[in-house]
């Protein structure tokens, strides 16, 4: 047993670092630091995706035949850890990490040939049409309907909490193609061009003042049947495959460590009156650091299992729970570190377009919106209450 990486792995680590040094511009870095929502805006995020793609690293999780880099689990770990440490943009995961694996796993040859290269290059920008008003964590109750009409489906209904729908040119969606006894059986997985007539998008501002999510309305939207992935009525299976993917986010500790480092730097700076001098702040910082240590160790245990070909299994729900809680603890520490400077509200977005900031150190600006938006960590992607239901059932067998 040991924690050290092999010489080859350390060489790879150096390669990643070198890549980052060359490709991560100061503007991208600043923009990322000043983005209080989950994902970078496309101008930032896609610039990074293009650089990755050029290097052949555009889709670390994909099989080699579709353009994946054929990394070992350890290499993926190292890549993610170095990216987090350096503060690279948070590329919207809907393409590479969400719809990509589904198309690879269940799409037709034509779909694979058409969509996958466009995801890799960043030419297509995807959003996810799962949630609906009235069906949040209870996704199977979704009501958006796709009715067969010749070679098309005609879609009516609405999706909500759609991240970056206002930027995306494509959506993958779960829609109801059949009324069945078991709600799950009537759902299909469809790829939709966002420029199709009948689609409108309404912005929803988050509690932190960011425009990241939307409501999308479908009014007699005509989508070719050829855009369905896999079989009709099997969409739930494909969708759940994705949710599993989303929950087992795998390597979150490095990002959390980076987020804590940011708060820690603030606490040590004059911008907060050296908040670290407050023993409550100092001790909470250690508590969170230790929680991240524990999380990282669990992730490494999973990684080590993966390396020897074992399935980490239901542990992903455990990880999602802890990750969201630790993230919130970091943002909570943030607002306590900046003290009364929390009163300042900057309505302008994106923050990184601000040139001159009035009377407040720039690095304090994202702290309050991050805390506010961060309340969503325990809600989106399956609330913590639902996650604990799952842990009890799947992990503990209750």
């Amino acid at each position: 047993m040991d924690l050290t990486f092999s010489a080859e792995e350390r060489a790879f680590e150096q390669e990643v670092r070198d890549f980052i040094v060359v490709n991560l511009t100061p503007e991208m870095k600043r923009a990322t630091a000043l983005t209080p929502s989950v994902f970078s805006d496309p101008d930032i995020g896609m610039a990074w995706q293009r650089a990755l793609h050029k290097k052949g690293w555009g889709a670390p999780g994909w099989p080699v035949e579709y353009g994946g880099p054929d990394w070992t689990p350890a290499q993926r770990w190292i890549f993610e850890a170095e990216c987090a440490r350096a503060g690279v943009p948070n590329v919207n995961v809907m393409g590479v990490k969400m719809v990509g694996p589904v198309i690879i796993g269940f799409g037709s040859l034509e779909q694979r040939n058409f969509y996958l290269p466009r995801i890799l290059s960043g030419e297509d920008y995807w959003c996810q049409g799962y949630s609906e008003p009235g069906s949040g964590s209870d996704l199977a109750s979704l009501k958006t309907r796709a009715v067969r009409d010749g070679d098309d489906y005609i879609i009516n209904g609405t999706k909500i909490w759609t991240t970056h729908a206002h930027h995306a040119n494509r959506m993958f969606a779960l829609v109801r193609t059949n009324e069945t006894e078991r709600q799950q059986d009537g759902i299909s997985f469809i790829l939709i061009d966002m420029k199709t007539p009948g689609i409108t998008t309404r912005p929803i501002l988050t509690i932190g003042g960011d425009h990241e999510v939307n409501q999308v309305f479908f009014d007699d939207v005509r989508v070719p049947v050829a855009n369905r992935v896999g079989e009709e009525g099997k969409g739930w299976t494909y969708g759940k495959y994705l949710l599993e993917f989303e929950r087992g986010s795998g390597i979150a500790s490095a990002k959390l460590r980076d987020a804590l480092k940011t708060v820690s730097s603030l606490a040590e700076s004059d911008a907060t009156g050296r908040a670290i001098g407050d023993p409550d702040i100092a001790v909470r910082m250690s508590e969170i650091e230790v929680d991240i240590d524990a999380l990282e160790m669990t992730e490494l245990r999973v990684l080590s299992a993966l390396q020897t070909g074992q399935n980490p299994g239901a542990v992903s729900s455990l990880l999602k729970l802890r990750v969201s809680e630790i993230r919130q603890a970091v943002t909570r520490l943030g607002v306590d570190v900046i003290g009364n400077d929390r009163l300042y509200v900057e309505p302008m977005r994106p923050l990184y377009r601000l040139n001159e900031v009035p009377g407040i150190p720039e690095e304090l600006l994202p702290v309050v919106p991050e805390y506010l938006n961060g309340r969503a960590y325990t809600i989106f992607g399956g609330s913590s209450e639902i996650q604990r239901d799952i842990v009890a059932k799947m992990v503990l067998g209750l």
Partner: protein, 377 residues
């Protein structure tokens, strides 16, 4: 021992509740959110007419001689309505500082104007380097042939742009703290006004070579720190009452929502975990209510008892408020983390005022230190 409201207090509560219910609608909040002043001068005049601005001012200076209990009754209603009028700055803090420190001449000149609504005040004390140490003031006041010269920077000044005069704390010669009446628009005074988290406005101030007449100093030049502690203890009791109004609103709205919102074919409130969460929220609301009342009842007690009650209230209410606020958002699910519901505004107001005069950790330490537990504040 009697904790029931007197007839006058009951009337005050009824009129405050009625006013808030009728005035502070969601429409009003939307309107005021874009207002450069952050509140309505029209409503301020009505506050004056209702006698609320005169409430804690001594009768000799045109006031009603009310106490911390009456202030608490108003503030709780203000919390329910998310009132943005500068009541805390002007009346709870401003009038009290003048009453505590001012000369008779200053009181006669200023207090009646507060009571009749013609003078809005604010208190510029917080500095970034000081965090929550009331005694740590880097702003300086130097004597000049004509009076005073003030230099320094202040952050998080509530309602600063609306104030006719700003009460600025500064170190005077000999290490004492003095309070200075700085008129809005004074030469050398730069204000950066911004919308305040949770509604209303605030500003950061820079004072560079601000020249003031000799009588700009409140009082006779003795150290203002003891008076500052009295007034801040009272302000914390008032903030506690406001928080209770907000927390109760959050609890009520969350109860309502979890009863109506259905998932997996049944209301959210059918889930035992959510029922227990709501029970805990109700319990913490009740504890916060008790602590706010206690701080008000102890506002005139001897200094250590008064300050421990105020710190205890600030600490405990802050802790309970964070729990109630975060859980309200959590139980509203995705809707809770948008600006589509009122819940977010209440959440933000609690967050905004949580560290005013120090957060929970600071005040638990102060409580311990004042109790002789040998902790550093």
């Amino acid at each position: 021992m009697d904790l029931t409201l007197s007839d006058e207090q009951r009337l005050l509560r009824e009129s405050a509740d009625r006013f808030v219910n009728e005035t502070y609608t969601a429409d009003h909040r939307r309107m005021i959110a874009n207002d450069p002043l952050g509140f309505s001068m029209d409503i301020w005049k009505q506050f004056a007419d209702l006698g609320w601005l005169a409430l804690p001012i001594a009768e000799a200076h045109g006031g009603l001689g009310g106490g911390a209990i009456e202030i608490g009754i108003l503030m709780e209603a203000f919390g329910r309505g998310l009132v943005t009028e500068p009541y805390l700055s002007t009346v709870v803090i401003g009038a009290s500082l003048i009453s505590a420190c001012g000369t008779e001449t200053q009181k006669q000149a200023l207090l009646p104007k507060i009571a009749d609504g013609s003078l809005i005040l604010t208190f510029a004390h917080s500095e970034r380097q000081a965090r929550y140490d009331l005694a740590k003031v880097a702003t300086t006041a130097k004597r000049t042939p004509d009076g005073w010269r003030i230099d320094g920077q202040k952050i998080a000044v509530l309602d600063g742009n609306a104030a006719g005069q700003i009460i600025v704390s500064a170190h005077i010669d000999g290490g004492k703290i003095g309070l200075f009446m700085v008129p809005q628009g004074a030469a050398g005074l730069t204000s950066r006004d911004f919308p305040r988290l949770g509604g209303g406005r605030a500003c950061h101030l820079e004072l560079r070579d601000v020249q003031l007449p000799a009588d700009a100093l409140l009082g006779d030049g003795s150290d203002a720190l003891p008076a500052l502690e009295v007034v801040v203890d009272r302000a914390m009791a008032a903030l506690g009452a406001e928080a209770v109004g907000i927390m109760q609103t959050l609890l009520d709205q969350t109860l309502e929502y979890t009863k109506i919102r259905k998932q997996f074919g049944r209301p959210l409130s059918a889930n035992q975990v959510i029922r227990h969460r709501l029970a805990d929220m109700a319990m913490q609301c009740d504890e916060a209510r008790s602590m706010a009342l206690r701080a008000a009842l102890m506002a005139d007690a001897e200094p250590v008892a008064r300050s421990r009650a105020a710190s205890g209230a600030k600490a405990k209410i802050g802790k309970c408020a964070r729990f109630v606020a975060e859980q309200s958002v959590q139980l509203h699910g995705a809707m809770g983390v948008t600006e589509e519901l009122d819940i977010g505004s209440y959440f933000k107001r609690l967050l905004a005022f949580e560290t005013l005069f120090g957060g929970s950790a600071h005040h638990y330490r102060r409580h311990a230190a004042l109790g002789g537990r040998g902790v550093h504040v």
